[in-house]
């Protein structure tokens, strides 16, 4: 039997006295695309924030390739190859496109006995990546706060793509996007799949994402209520599930 890339066991999360997750078991395999579905407040965002190290679980265990690990900080997650595109993109508005893409993983070169930022290289790579994604951004030195929601999304995705990831998490990646932008995101997800990179995404538009996912996980009130392969279900069935809970 194949070992899951990541396995979460009996995960609980509470904030003060509110329960966000109550005993969630979740796993994802290499190259698998999982659609995480549920109404607002179901616990989807909490689950992926635990995976990306925004906060630790209150209780529960996480395994990476069958080895128990702790994800205490975003850095721990990134070191495991978990790249996350958060709903609010997590970009620094005052910094430019290249600086945002390389935030936390800046390229340096030696200048005498000290290491200085290799700004030129970073801007080149950023330009190239932005072009590949078909984003309409004129210069890598443009400040991010002047960009549209779709463009920001693109930069967050470019950041996730640029570094060797084993799992990419997308939190509502298409919400702010135009039709064209949506298609780009969907293309990106299928590219990940081709490269054997696992992907979890949250999206409300089930019809749009249905063909992409290998498996759907439906959450409600902090618990997983359905875990079903695409071939065993249909758009209607999942929509019914969402309405009923």
């Amino acid at each position: 039997m194949e070992i899951p890339l990541i396995k979460m066991e009996d995960i609980h999360k509470w904030f003060d006295r509110t329960y966000a997750l109550r005993g969630v078991n979740f796993e994802i395999y290499k190259g698998e695309v999982v659609g995480l579905i549920g109404s607002n407040g179901a616990g989807k965002s909490t689950l992926i924030k635990i995976l990306s190290g925004v906060f630790p679980p209150s209780k529960g265990r996480i395994f990476y390739h069958d080895e128990e690990i702790e994800i205490k900080t975003p850095k721990d997650a990134i070191d495991l190859g978990i790249e996350t595109v958060h709903q609010d993109y997590s970009l620094v508005g005052e910094r430019n496109v290249a600086q945002n893409i390389f935030l936390g993983r800046e390229l340096v070169r030696s200048a005498g006995f000290i290491k200085v930022l290799d700004t030129q290289k970073m801007e080149e790579v950023a330009s190239q990546k932005v072009r590949e994604l078909g984003l309409n951004i004129s210069s890598p030195t443009q400040e991010v706060r002047f960009l549209s929601g779709g463009e920001r999304q693109g930069i967050a995705i470019a950041r996730a793509m640029l570094f060797k990831a084993t799992l990419v998490i997308l939190d509502e990646p298409t919400t702010a996007l135009s039709v064209k932008g949506c298609r780009q995101v969907l293309d990106f997800i299928s590219q990940l799949k081709k490269n054997d990179i696992a992907c979890i995404f949250i999206d409300h538009n089930i019809g749009r994402i249905f063909p992409l996912a290998d498996r759907f996980v439906v959450m409600s009130h902090g618990q997983i209520i359905e875990n079903v392969l695409r071939e065993d279900t249909s758009v209607e069935e999942i929509e019914d599930l969402l309405v009923s809970c």
Binding site: S52, T84, V92, E94, G104, R105, R159
Partner: protein, 322 residues
């Protein structure tokens, strides 16, 4: 594109235009004393101490924090170092290292409380400013005389007729500008100040960045204390008291954002020098000190207003509206 770059260059460096304007204004009023090399030399010199406090505040502001305690750190580290140096006969150059070290330690205390324990920087540094202020009195009430010449040199000695403090001020301005623009630490500092949560999510240890910002601010305040001591030739127990708001003013006039993530050290230097010019100009006019203080406030406000419009202009240029 090129005209856009030119416009950007202009608005980004507007403080220097304001500076020149104010300088010429006083120059017209008092041409014989104001428009001289000696006067420029003098203004640069007396701005050097405040300059380091402005640098310290700028580093803190860039990281999205405040430091109300820098003036008191300057006073405290200068006093402790002076007492130790004189009592133990420490060589002057070790005293110079010590004053920076103590400043850094004070900053580390702030940094620990703000960065690690995540207390509000305003409240923390309000508390520590009172604490350092009075600790200085615990160490000694009065002046410390008889400091070694080497220790007094950075703030008081001249090289080829030019005060050493001016070279130190300009040298540090260039050094800090380089560090902010060209190193990972500098880049992280801006990012933390711009959006700390986003920066944290990119795997950066933001606690450490904030901590280090306070440490660096403390060290710069220590250097300010060193320069103040050299300037006076003695260490006094109220050294640099009450300077913190002018340090804020210098940074903000120089275009450093109070909300973090935006600003440049060279422009902050421009803000400092502008304050120095205003003070010298108004003092030379020999008007009632109460009016002088009032005019200083007005000029600071005007400079901040101009700077605010600069920010709006800059955004419009960047969005391609101009």
């Amino acid at each position: 594109m090129n005209s856009k770059k030119l416009k950007l260059f202009f608005v980004d460096n507007m403080i220097w235009v304001i500076l020149l304007g104010v300088f010429l204004f006083f120059g017209i009023i008092k041409p014989r004393t104001f428009l001289t090399f000696q006067n420029v030399h003098f203004i640069l010199y007396v701005s050097s101490m405040m300059g380091f406090l402005v640098f310290a505040e700028t580093i803190c502001l860039l990281s999205g924090n405040f430091d109300l305690s820098i003036g008191e750190i300057a006073g405290f580290s200068a006093m402790v170092t002076a007492v130790i140096t004189v009592k133990s006969g420490l060589p002057g150059y070790l005293g110079i290292i010590l004053v920076v070290l103590i400043g850094g330690l004070c900053g580390a205390f702030n940094g620990l409380l703000v960065g690690k324990i995540r207390l509000n920087p305003f409240l923390v540094t309000l508390g520590t400013s009172i604490m350092f202020d009075w600790l200085t009195m615990v160490v000694r009430r009065g002046s410390v005389l008889g400091l070694p010449a080497v220790y007094l040199a950075p703030g008081g000695a001249r090289v080829f007729g030019v005060y050493l403090a001016i070279f130190i001020l300009l040298g540090f301005a260039i050094l800090l500008a380089f560090v902010l623009a060209k190193t990972i630490w500098g880049s992280n500092l801006y990012s933390v100040g711009g959006n700390i949560e986003a920066t944290r999510r990119c795997g950066i240890n933001t606690d450490k960045v904030v901590f280090s910002a306070f440490v660096v601010a403390g060290m710069l305040a220590g250097i300010s204390g060193l320069l103040y001591t050299g300037y006076m030739g003695v260490a006094t127990s109220n050294l640099a008291d009450g300077t913190v708001f002018m340090a804020f003013a210098g940074a903000v006039i120089g275009g450093v954002s109070l909300t973090g993530g935006r600003g440049s050290i060279l422009n902050a230097l421009g803000g400092t020098l502008l304050l120095g010019i205003i003070e010298a100009g108004l003092t030379m006019m020999a008007i009632d000190p109460a009016w002088q203080g009032t005019f200083t406030g007005v000029l600071v406000l005007v400079a901040i207003l101009l700077n605010q419009s600069r920010q709006i202009l800059r955004d419009r240029i960047l969005m391609g509206e101009m």
